[in-house]
């Protein structure tokens, strides 16, 4: 019964003339699946169950096959009197151990990791707009921001490791400046500069920074790629004496992969 006198918003809800209506409150809350066209959705059963079962069988199968091919390492009995060279932490802490080579332990082992975790936790509270949720990189522009930042970080952090390794300020300037400056302030300032630089570039670019999401895209990408570069450097490229080598040209028959 189409009725042209009813205003658009009342079409699904015809008012009774015997009652009065008023708007009580607008609740700002997520409406999970309400108001969504049924055409985009499908029954979760059985497709989701099948997908999850496939993932379970698939990943367990890969794991079993890999475990049949490669044995877990076991070296000699622990001996506190014989130091291994190099002595490395598990691979996921090699980023931290690598940083210890470049700056004061409090900065590398405590302050920067605490900042990283604090940053991770605060991401959703700084960037709270719901726009673009559920879309990879939010937009085309987001994608290119991430791409350029990733490339930049790869070059900048690799450069930092190599330059600092070749000309370590804490050794070259040891007699001129106090340790606080050479071990903490200089590397801290360099790190801050490297992290902030891509943000400055984005800010001064033609379109500027459009929203909090773009800031997060830059910062998270810097953090992630930095972690990857430092972890790989520490895990693959550090050999005896914790010196830099090519992974395939390690002296003393040392193989970084044996430490997994």
């Amino acid at each position: 019964m189409p009725d042209n006198n009813i205003p658009e918003e009342n079409k699904s809800f015809s008012r009774s003339s015997k009652k009065t209506y008023s708007l009580v409150e607008i609740v700002k809350a997520p409406t999970t699946m309400v108001d969504k066209g049924p055409e985009d959705t499908i029954f979760a059963f059985p497709i989701v169950a099948i997908l999850e079962l496939m993932l379970a069988i698939g990943s367990t199968l890969v794991l079993v096959i890999f475990s049949l091919l490669k044995d877990a390492p076991l070296e000699e009995l622990a001996n506190p009197l014989i130091t291994t060279d190099p002595a490395k932490a598990p691979w996921y802490f090699m980023g931290l151990q690598e940083m210890l080579e470049h700056m004061h332990p409090t900065l590398a082992g405590i302050i920067l990791p605490a900042l990283a975790v604090g940053f991770l936790i605060s991401i959703p509270y700084i960037d709270y707009s719901r726009e673009g949720a559920g879309v990879w990189f939010t937009s085309k522009r987001g994608k290119s921001i991430v791409g350029w930042t990733a490339l930049y970080t790869l070059v900048a952090m690799t450069g930092f490791v190599l330059v600092d390794n070749a000309f370590p300020p804490r050794e070259l300037l040891r007699d001129m400046l106090p340790n606080l400056v050479t071990q903490s302030l200089i590397p801290g300032a360099v790190m801050t500069f490297l992290v902030v630089l891509p943000l400055l570039v984005l800010w001064r670019s033609k379109e500027g920074i459009k929203n909090a999401r773009e800031v997060m895209l830059v910062l998270f990408t810097v953090l992630f790629i930095t972690a990857v570069v430092l972890t790989l450097t520490g895990f693959l490229f550090r050999g005896p004496g914790f010196e830099l080598y090519w992974p395939w040209a390690m002296p003393n028959g040392y193989n970084p992969m044996d430490g997994l």
């Binding site: 049924p38 475990s67 044995d71 590398a108 082992g109 959703p124 895209l217």
Partner: protein, 251 residues
């Protein structure tokens, strides 16, 4: 045959186990999701986008599966392992050489531990780049960060247990980082190691953390995490192209 099947499926015993009919129709497909403890973690209907392989890569699910694999293989390893500096190393050798499938068991536990760290990190990266931490999922993101730290802790504490040179020096190096912190560093290091150096006290503590405390917390918090995914409306991809909500946002 059909009669027998109907008899079983309609029996009071069967009906007490499964409170829905065969899920080939909308009603039973809804009921199976709401009455089964494993399925009720999923919504009854999902957006097609959210189950695309290239959307989530299934990384959260794989991480969960790794946790299950680690629990099973870990319990089996416990049957053969005593956390004493005098025996631990030789228990591992016995496990590898005397116990049927012992080497495979140990390999699976070790490789899946590495894989779980890797997939948890990649899962976080995926969640970040898809913007799935945004409202109302902020809390679940924080829960995720806690899970990542616990996963690292589980892996790190397990690293010491074989009590070989690799284990000993990795934990010595790893815990020395904590010792650098000027105020509480030495205290934390001492608490973890049970002394100034890695020894029996450290092995006891790491063992307790590795087989009880951290897996217990992980089980609890992974449950919380998955429940929150459900409560927040499934994956964020479910919400894409939702003009009505965007309007409410902008109002």
């Amino acid at each position: 045959m059909k009669k027998l099947k109907d008899f079983i499926v309609n029996s009071r015993v069967w009906r007490s186990f499964f409170r829905h009919g065969w899920p080939d129709n909308p009603l039973d497909r809804s009921l199976i999701m709401t009455t089964n403890v494993f399925f009720h973690l999923h919504p009854v209907r999902v957006n097609k986008r959210s189950i695309k392989a290239l959307y989530s890569f299934g990384l959260g699910v794989i991480t969960t599966i790794m946790f299950v694999v680690l629990s099973i293989t870990g319990i089996l390893e416990m049957f053969y392992y005593v956390p004493s500096v005098d025996t631990a190393y030789f228990d591992i050798i016995t496990l590898q050489t005397q116990v049927p499938f012992g080497q495979l068991l140990r390999n699976m536990h070790r490789w899946s531990a590495h894989l779980m760290v890797l997939t948890a990190v990649l899962h976080m990266v995926r969640v970040f780049y898809t913007g799935a931490y945004k409202r109302p999922r902020e809390f679940n993101w924080v829960v995720g960060v806690v899970l990542l730290i616990l996963t690292l802790g589980a892996s790190f504490t397990g690293y010491l247990l074989p009590w070989d040179q690799l284990a000993f020096w990795a934990i010595t190096v790893g815990t020395s980082v904590a010792g650098y912190e000027p105020m509480f560093g030495k205290l934390i290091q001492k608490l973890l190691l049970g002394g100034a150096e890695v020894g029996q006290a450290s092995l006891t503590r790491f063992y307790g953390l590795h087989v009880m405390v951290i897996p217990g917390l992980l089980l609890l918090i992974i449950s919380l995490h998955l429940w929150r995914v459900r409560k927040d409306g499934g994956l964020a991809a479910n919400e894409v192209k939702d003009e009505i909500e965007t309007e409410v946002e902008n109002a």
